[in-house]
């Protein structure tokens, strides 16, 4: 295989991994604080729609991004209300949010743009463009490293770089700040955090809102960078793949990067080769589609190390009276 | 609790122990965290006697009850009426233990002994719900169970004697009577009873103690676990002391002094090894 083909696949991997990575980190914050979130999909979808819609109407991709984040935060707030304030079932709340987003986006898109539940295609200035890193063109001719720099590292939208920067940032917040320490503690042992006089409710709300923010970025990336506009159900299960990646990563930031890159790579392969000829067997494209989910089940089965979620995950915190 | 000492004068005659019912040898339990909770416990109980197991909470008595009740796996040997019990295989469960003649009033009645949302009549067969006598094929004979529960609640003075009320609607003492009635009335050879009067009102304590003594007088073996030393001393015929997963020693109840037991409970050996 030629270097340029490999680079194209890897380049595509990076693009496809970005929304997964953002959503995965979003889920990481929420679940590390003890709030299960299967509503990543819905928040991304809402953000995708609102970012595309506002970018289409105003022509400003930054306003679009803002709107996407606000929409995602609103759904996060709803999840917080159900899961934290009213101590409802977090899983059921997540399911509801996914359906709410799936229905409302199409409903509003149809009433707003009358294009069958999609937004108009975004022109170049209403999208996040590709950033050419300094010297990319000049170095292109350098053997091996030049194309890698020019093709793979340079030429992505700003959100890709933001997503990758979020990995060390998340690590730093979780493991090097007091907030992170408390956040992890509240996901393992909320009683202890409460006893220490720290508000469980406020910590969990912060985590859920950070999750909303990151899902907003993920959704906006889908509609305004990866593609040019919103179409119905455009997240296409990415929220669930991100959830799978989170388990794969065992709720750790750097591993989240590796897991989402792996799943992004699988998607890139599936996109490029409809049926993958492995010499002995030909893998149909559907097998590639299913692979992230199958891998997650294998992980959950404990064949590749045990995935232990945060101990207090999914349980509403009830103060002893 | 207030006034306990006054209440704990239980009328009973000396025991007339018969054949051994339960024989425990070298029982060991290692919990999931890798800590050894029982470190080779051996003891035996004969028909018609109460063996009291004294100890500070958390020294292995709960694990012992759970192993004997089929809720926890262990290694070692346990014989019930001479037949070995399965301690770690497929028959190490509550159903097999009941079939072997072991009844169990668990320490935590609200979390284990009862389904708090089940009505009293449903709780009256909890654990015995597989008894063919209360079923027609796969169906449970609910009206027969209800009638039986109603009569049972009268006999055990459960107040209010309404079998349709959920368990959570009863007071602690009346909940315990529901459990006790269920476990005693089937005539087990061995009754495991943990913290029989914890969280129980004064009137019910006396009633529960009388039931335990009556069961002993009917020739049954009883393993009594309690953190209340007074209760152990008032009800037992023999007293064993458990500390850190080991039996520290055993004394006849009439020779026991609170001081001596207290020392053993604190891990001080008094030379009377079992």
């Amino acid at each position: 295989m030629e270097l340029i083909t490999v680079l194209q696949i890897l380049d595509s991997t990076v693009r496809l991994a970005t929304p997964l990575l953002l959503a995965c980190l979003a889920g990481l914050f929420s679940e590390r604080a003890g709030i299960f979130d299967i509503g990543l999909e819905g928040k991304m979808l809402a953000a995708a729609f609102f970012s595309a819609a506002i970018a289409a109407v105003t022509g400003s991709v930054w306003l679009g991004l803002g709107a996407g984040i606000v929409a995602s935060l609103a759904l996060s707030g709803l999840h917080g209300l159900a899961a934290i304030t009213f101590r409802g079932n977090q899983l059921i709340s997540g399911v509801a949010i996914n359906f709410l987003a799936a229905g409302l986006t199409v409903l509003i898109a149809q009433s707003w743009f009358q294009q069958g539940g999609r937004t108009p295609s975004l022109p170049g200035e209403a999208r996040f463009g590709q950033i050419t890193l300094p010297g990319a063109e000049a170095l292109r001719e350098v053997p091996v490293l030049g194309p890698i720099y020019a093709e793979l590292i340079s030429g992505h939208s700003i959100l890709v770089y933001v997503a990758f920067a979020c990995v060390p940032l998340t690590w730093w917040i979780l493991y090097r700040t007091r907030f992170g320490l408390r956040l992890r503690a509240v996901g393992e042992n909320p009683e202890a955090v409460d006893t220490a006089g720290i508000s469980v409710v406020r910590l969990r709300y912060s985590a859920v809102l950070i999750c909303g923010l990151l899902c907003g970025l993920a959704g906006a990336y889908l509609a305004t960078a990866l593609q040019a506009g919103f179409v119905q159900d455009m997240t296409a299960g990415r929220g669930y793949i991100a959830l799978a990646a989170l388990i794969f990563a065992k709720w750790r930031p750097w591993h989240a990067l590796y897991a989402t890159l792996l799943f992004g790579f699988l998607q890139a392969i599936a996109l490029r080769y409809q049926n993958l000829d492995l010499g002995i067997v030909t893998l149909p494209v559907q097998a590639m589609d299913a692979l992230p989910y199958i891998l997650t089940v294998v992980i959950l089965a404990g064949f590749i190390g045990k995935a232990v979620p945060p101990r207090a995950g999914g349980e509403p915190y009830v103060k002893e009276r | 609790m207030v006034g306990r000492k006054v209440l704990l004068r239980v009328e009973k005659t000396p025991a007339t122990p018969g054949k051994p019912v339960l024989e425990v040898e070298n029982l060991r339990v290692i919990d999931p965290a890798g800590v050894e909770r029982l470190r080779g416990v051996s003891l035996n109980i004969r028909a018609g006697e109460v063996l009291g197991l004294a100890g500070v909470a958390g020294n292995g008595q709960s694990e012992l009850l759970e192993v004997l009740g089929g809720m926890m796996r262990a290694t070692g040997t346990v014989r019930m009426n001479g037949a070995p019990l399965d301690l770690s295989g497929p028959h190490a469960d509550g159903q097999s233990r009941r079939a072997a003649g072991i009844a169990h009033v668990p320490e935590d009645r609200q979390r284990k002994g009862l389904i708090m949302d089940y009505a009293a009549w449903e709780n009256s067969v909890f654990g015995y719900h597989r008894d063919p006598a209360i079923a027609t094929g796969p169906l449970m004979r609910n009206s027969a169970i209800l009638d039986h529960a109603s009569a049972q609640m009268q006999r055990f003075d459960v107040r209010p004697p309404n079998p349709r009320l959920p368990a959570k609607a009863f007071s602690g003492g009346n909940q315990q009577k529901v459990v006790l009635a269920r476990e005693i009335e089937r005539g087990p050879d061995l009754l495991l009873i943990g913290q029989p009067t914890r969280g129980v009102d004064i009137g019910a304590i006396e009633f529960i103690h009388q039931q335990i003594v009556a069961l002993r007088d009917a020739g049954k073996a009883i393993l009594l676990v309690s953190v209340e030393l007074d209760e152990i001393m008032a009800l037992s015929d023999r007293i064993a002391v458990i500390f850190d997963g080991r039996i520290m020693g055993e004394v006849a109840a009439q020779d026991a002094s609170a001081r001596e037991l207290g020392l053993m409970m604190a891990g001080v050996s008094t030379g009377k090894a079992a």
Binding site: I38, L81, A83, F86, R87, G88, N89, Q90, L91, I92, S93, V95, A96, F99, L100, A102, G103, L104, V106, L107, Q110, S111, Q114, G237, Y240, A244, P284, Q286, A287, A290, Y293, V297, L300, A301, G302, K306, P309 | G70, M71, D93, G94, S96, R98, P106, D108, R111, K112, G113, L114, I115, M116, E122, F126, G127, H129, R130, A135, P138, L139, A169
Partner: protein, 364 residues
Amino acid sequence: MERMPKWADVVLIPLISLLLAAVISGLVILAIGEDPINALNLMVKGALGSTYGWGYTLYYATNFMFTGLAVAVAFHARLFNIGGEGQAMLGGLGVALVCLYLPWPHWSLALIASTVGAALFGAAWALMPAVLQAKRGSHIVITTIMFNFIAAAFLNWLLVGPLKPRGGMDPSTARFPEATNLPSLHDLLAPLGIAFSKAAPANISFLIGILACVLVWVLIWRTRLGYEIRAFGHSEPAARYAGISPTKITVITMLISGGLAGMMAINNVMGEAERLVLNATEGAGFIGIAVALMGRSHPFGVFLAAILFGFLYQGGAELALWTSIPRELIIVIQALVILFTGALDNMVRIPLERIFMALRRRGA
């Protein structure tokens, strides 16, 4: 003491939740510039105003009965089976294999075999998540979601590949033979002198759905197994005390749940499409969640909630036909029902409990 009477818990809370969902849906309709009252009228007329409308309403309701029962049975063991969608897809495969590859002299025999096939395939698809939950503690919600996607990919592959007949244009199996076609409600009611729309897809599976409701009621409240399932759902330590094996109950409950979800296929695959098409389940597996929550996991409640959602689906389709309101409105309503009856249950419950407490104090 109970904080409020049972009827309030069983009837009042779902009704208030439904009302809240309806009000918000009305606001959504207003916001997109349509008239909610008019929309409701259209829905009622479209779904209940003719035997044709009823035929669709009951057809959808049949799907939701099966998936709703599937979720409800699992709820009793405190298991959240989100995998109804995938299990129903596999059920469709079971039905297709039975109908296509075995010769059937009469629809009744085919129906029995298909029901068994659907249930077996649906149950099989629930088995692995169940075992992983019981033996490894892997969260059943996550595994069943994963299995939904795996099922979708698997069926996709089958329907564009091995199961597609030669020369077939769309991803689907061949038509099932005539002898396996189920009688519709029209066929069933005609001998009784009742005229029922011939075009509507409601069929004999509706009666099987009702039968399933009755049998699930017997299972949960009259059998030893149901007693154990509920006990396990209330308290796992207590179940262990009573000698109820958590592993066994988890696996058996999920098999029953998956089997029920799979049985939906006799309605949509055998009864309506008469072949297996791509995405035959159309999200019915997920609607089962809303139906089970709304019906308080009680088979009779599930029955009523299934009819309600059948009405919403048919009414929603009519709305999309006559107004500019897209069909996705029902997904919003479904989401709101799940939200209010499930996740925000306490938001409705706590104030209501306060009201009942206050009333009692005044009465006392």
